[in-house]
Amino acid sequence: MSETVVTTVNGRVVETAVEANELLLDFLRDRLGLIGARQSCEVQVCGTCTVLVDGMPVSSCTHLACDVDGKEVETIEGLVGTPLHDELSDAFVRHAAVQCGFCTPGMLLTAKALLGTEDVATEEGTRRAMAGNLCRCTGYRSILDALTEVFDAHRTPRS
């Protein structure tokens, strides 16, 4: 059983038929060739498959493709080339926050969604807000340092 989905992916309108049980992750990878989101835990724990739907991070491994009908999807490929991606990338490089790189796109997308929010006003808050993105390589310190630097630079000063 298939149905038609009209969605915007990285700023481009996509209209296509999808299977009713098709996962957003498979839709992005297999139909659109966007490989930056990857499968790992399949139970919404690890964050490796994170993409943004209407600006909010979702686990594309457990999100149905038909549910993005009428919505905007952003993947790492859409973030690339923006000033924010450059800024995040420079900070990640400076702090050596990339090792195997499997989790990295998901980290950046979650970070984009959190940017400028109260959730990441403190390091404590950032730890809590980022806990849905796992990394087995780095030990988190370097990623936390990189993110804190970017989050702090984007904080709106309180009047």
């Binding site: 050596a96 195997c100 499997f102 087995r136 030990g139």
Partner: protein, 770 residues
């Protein structure tokens, strides 16, 4: 990060600098390709039917419905392997490619479907009917070691292709391998010692969880085989595939894209034989992508039980140690024999015992196979040995740092008979981790500090080759078989070549491994890449440099002694000739390139590699913990580690390794544990109920001290790192918790376990006052 010595000023052009890792930008853009991102033309999707029973006879398999399913191209069962010797295993050749007549663990592959889509393959799998006749199960060490235990394997042990363990002992019940050594008269030492500490200890089964699960694409074309795989040891995979499917080595090509972590879980051969077998039947490329629950029964860290005792004098002199340990290798040996031997080597700890006796056993059970996981062996035993050293210190009233200062082996001291002596400054290392957590400072109640130090036999078998190519535009390509798992090997190898050739490391490109083109490298593991493969890269680059100097001598008409090298050019008497020009002048305008080869082998000119192990990796760490006695919750407040690396090729990468190892050590110590029930079923087979450390588990402070004594056998005096802290930290945490008042003999330190121990100590304390 603290570096205990600075590099000599003005000499390093690339080595010793924290240059940007070469793969970072592609990974940040999501462009770096992993195996799952590859799609060879006409690729099919594989789905694996796994046994629900831990021990059963397969009475029949009916695959007819699956085969008739639209979109299914092939279905593989044990019957398809009649024309080959279908058993593999680098240590013990005990594992069939797919179950043949019998299953030995819950999750063992029984059949594979290859279909045009994953969903067709998954759906067809459900239509396969298997009739099992269940057998008695030995799902734990105790069950497998019982006198009347069911045998997991009945036949004789067949040695694997690459066990490297000398003459293998006969199988004895479910014990498939034994290792041990002794020195001195243990019995008399223990009889006369004024202090003896002894106990029984348990270490849990742990899942490595590399975020990329095992992923393999194979194409058996008849006369040759191509495998793309997330594997750490492509040349050993090639060897086993060649042997299994009866094709020459040069007809088996193993290609390794970026790996999404490894930590040992992708060492040796894993899903490759099964994937090649289904491709052979389908005649097309097939991909098998494990789910997490499948990877968890593909490999894990051995759970272990251990009995240990330590004898000491009233003055704190460490006199004797006796260790017996049993490691659960699951249904197939995988790397169990090596893990067992390494645990045995680590068991005495780095002390000058008058007598020691170590006996280690590798045991089959009806659970998924156990294999390598970062710092294997040492992680298993260091926390036990080091907690006994602490207990000796408490009993004789000595400071726990002081007892180590007095007893640690000096440089050159004998670790075990026949092995390389200590090749590091152990007292300096333990003092560094202690200082970093303010050893000796006053602390509030329910706080504790701990330190630990141990040795890990590192380097594996020291055989690595490398090729360095210098092109006519001055660009350099490094071909070396080390696989990039995230550790930064492509960056470090490039830095080594750049340093030898005195060029900017951005001019060097280090390629991924393709066994058809990349020269042989034994493996990526045992912290060996920088030391062994890096040495081969250094030699290959030196060979290119030699050719450059030879050409310069001819052109300039001067002796080599008058030539100097800097900035990508050879100079003499104020005249500099760039490498580009040297290559072009040597070959003419058409181009050409200079190619250098390097090799490391145990015998011959690379003398530093003659004795085993290649080096002793130092496993030193410190921890400060806080205990909530009402709940049993242990919080790690800060940690320290030492990366005793001889020479840091890239200090930031070294520190990154220790930080990553620290969080894994924290998980191993505090909460990671795979639990099997008595029927051999894994109870927590998802990330929902097998938890790994997250951002919220990060200690408030972590410090890593880099020690550079230029005492390694690798390039520029380097030796490996990245595993030591994973052995050192659980031991430091256990010791810190004991310092806070709770002595534990079972890991992980879950709140429930700690709370029960607090309660037991209170009851014991109260009854002893009666």
């Amino acid at each position: 990060m603290t570096r205990l010595s600075d590099p000599p000023v003005g000499t390093a052009t690339a080595v010793g600098l924290s240059v940007e890792r070469v793969d970072a930008r592609d990974k940040l853009a999501g462009k770096a390709e992993f195996t799952v991102d590859l799609h060879p033309p006409f690729m099919l999707y594989g789905s694996v039917l796994r046994s629900p029973y831990a021990h059963a006879v397969i009475e029949g398999i009916d695959t007819s419905a699956a085969e008739a399913t639209d979109g299914v191209v092939a279905v593989l069962t044990g019957d398809d392997l009649a024309d080959i010797d279908p058993y593999y295993g680098h240590a013990l050749r005990d594992r069939p490619v797919v179950a043949i007549g019998k299953v030995r663990f819950a999750g063992e592959p029984v059949a594979v479907v290859a279909a045009v889509t994953q969903s067709v393959a998954d759906a067809a799998l459900a239509s396969i009917e298997v009739t099992y006749g269940t057998l008695e199960v030995a799902a734990s060490l105790d069950a497998a070691l019982a006198p009347d235990a069911p045998l997991v394997h009945e036949g004789a042990v067949r040695p694997g292709l690459a066990h490297g363990l000398g003459a293998l002992p006969e199988r004895e019940g479910n014990i498939c391998y034994r290792y041990g050594f002794a020195r001195g008269d243990t019995e008399s030492v223990f009889e006369s010692a004024p202090v003896v500490v002894e106990g029984d200890y348990l270490f849990p089964a742990v899942y490595q969880y590399s975020m990329e699960t095992h992923t393999t694409i194979a194409h058996h074309k008849g006369d040759d085989i191509v495998v793309w795989s997330s594997c750490q040891h492509p040349f050993l995979v090639r060897q086993e595939i060649s042997e299994l499917f009866g094709l020459p080595l040069d007809r088996v090509e193993v290609i390794v894209p970026f790996l999404g972590g490894g930590f040992g879980s992708k060492s040796y051969t894993k899903m490759e034989p099964l994937t090649v077998a289904i491709s052979r039947k389908a005649g097309r490329p097939v991909r098998i992508l494990n789910r997490v629950d499948e990877s968890m029964v593909t490999t894990r860290r051995h759970n272990m039980k251990c009995r240990m005792r330590t004898a000491a004098g009233a003055d704190g002199e460490l006199l004797g140690r006796e260790v017996e340990l049993w490691l659960d290798t699951g249904a197939y040996a995988d790397n169990g024999p090596r893990v067992t031997a390494t645990a045995g080597d680590a068991a005495p700890g780095p002390y000058g015992w008058k007598a020691m006796d170590v006996r280690a056993h590798c045991v089959y059970t009806n659970t998924g196979p156990s294999g390598s996981y970062r710092a294997f062996g040492s992680t298993h035993v260091q926390w036990i040995g080091e907690s006994q050293v602490d207990e000796v210190a408490r009993r004789v009233g000595m400071d726990r740092l002081e007892i180590r200062r007095r007893n640690l082996l000096p440089r050159g001291g004998e670790v075990r008979p026949g092995a390389k002596g200590v090749d590091a400054d152990l007292v300096g290392d333990i003092e560094a981790v202690a200082a970093a957590i303010d050893w000796g400072a006053e602390r509030p109640p329910n706080r504790g500090v701990g330190i630990s130090i141990g040795l890990l036999a590192a380097g594996a078998h020291p055989v690595s080759m490398a090729t360095v190519r210098l092109g006519p535009d001055g660009g350099v390509t490094v071909l070396v078989g080390t696989t990039e798992l995230g550790q930064g090997s492509r960056t470090a190898m490039g830095q080594i070549a750049a340093e030898v050739l005195k060029i900017d490391s951005s001019r060097v490109r280090t390629m991924g491994t393709d066994t058809a083109y990349t020269p042989y490298d034994r493996s990526t593991g045992a912290s060996r890449s920088t030391t062994v493969a890096g040495k081969a890269v250094e030699e290959a680059a030196l060979s290119v440099l030699d050719a450059l100097l030879e050409t310069a001598e001819e052109i300039l008409g001067v002796d080599r002694a008058e030539l100097t090298v800097a900035g990508g050019a050879v100079e003499a008497g104020g005249q500099a000739i760039a490498y580009q020009e040297l290559v072009q002048r040597r070959f003419g305008l058409a181009g050409g390139e200079l190619v250098g080869h390097g090799r490391v082998q145990p015998r011959g000119k690379s003398g530093g590699f003659a004795d085993g192990p290649v080096f002793w990796e130092i496993c030193a760490a410190g921890a400060e913990v806080e205990l909530d006695p009402e709940t049993g919750i242990v919080t790690v407040l800060r940690t320290s580690s030492v990366a005793d690396v001889g020479r840091a090729i890239n200090p930031q990468l070294v520190e990154s390794q220790d930080e990553g190892g620290t969080l894994q050590g924290l998980g191993n110590a505090l909460f990671e544990e795979m639990r099997f029930d008595a029927s051999g079923t894994l109870l927590n087979d998802t990330l929902l109920d097998y938890r790994i450390p997250s951002f919220e588990d990060l200690p408030a402070a972590m410090s890593c001290t880099i020690v550079e004594n230029a005492d390694g056998p690798g390039p520029f005096g380097a030796k490996g790192c990245g595993e030591g802290v994973l052995a050192g930290l659980p031991a430091a945490i256990v010791n810190a918790l004991a310092d806070a008042g709770v002595a534990m003999r079972e890991l992980p330190l879950t709140p429930e376990r700690v709370w029960n121990q607090i309660r037991k100590q209170r009851i014991d304390g109260a009854s002893s006052k009666d």
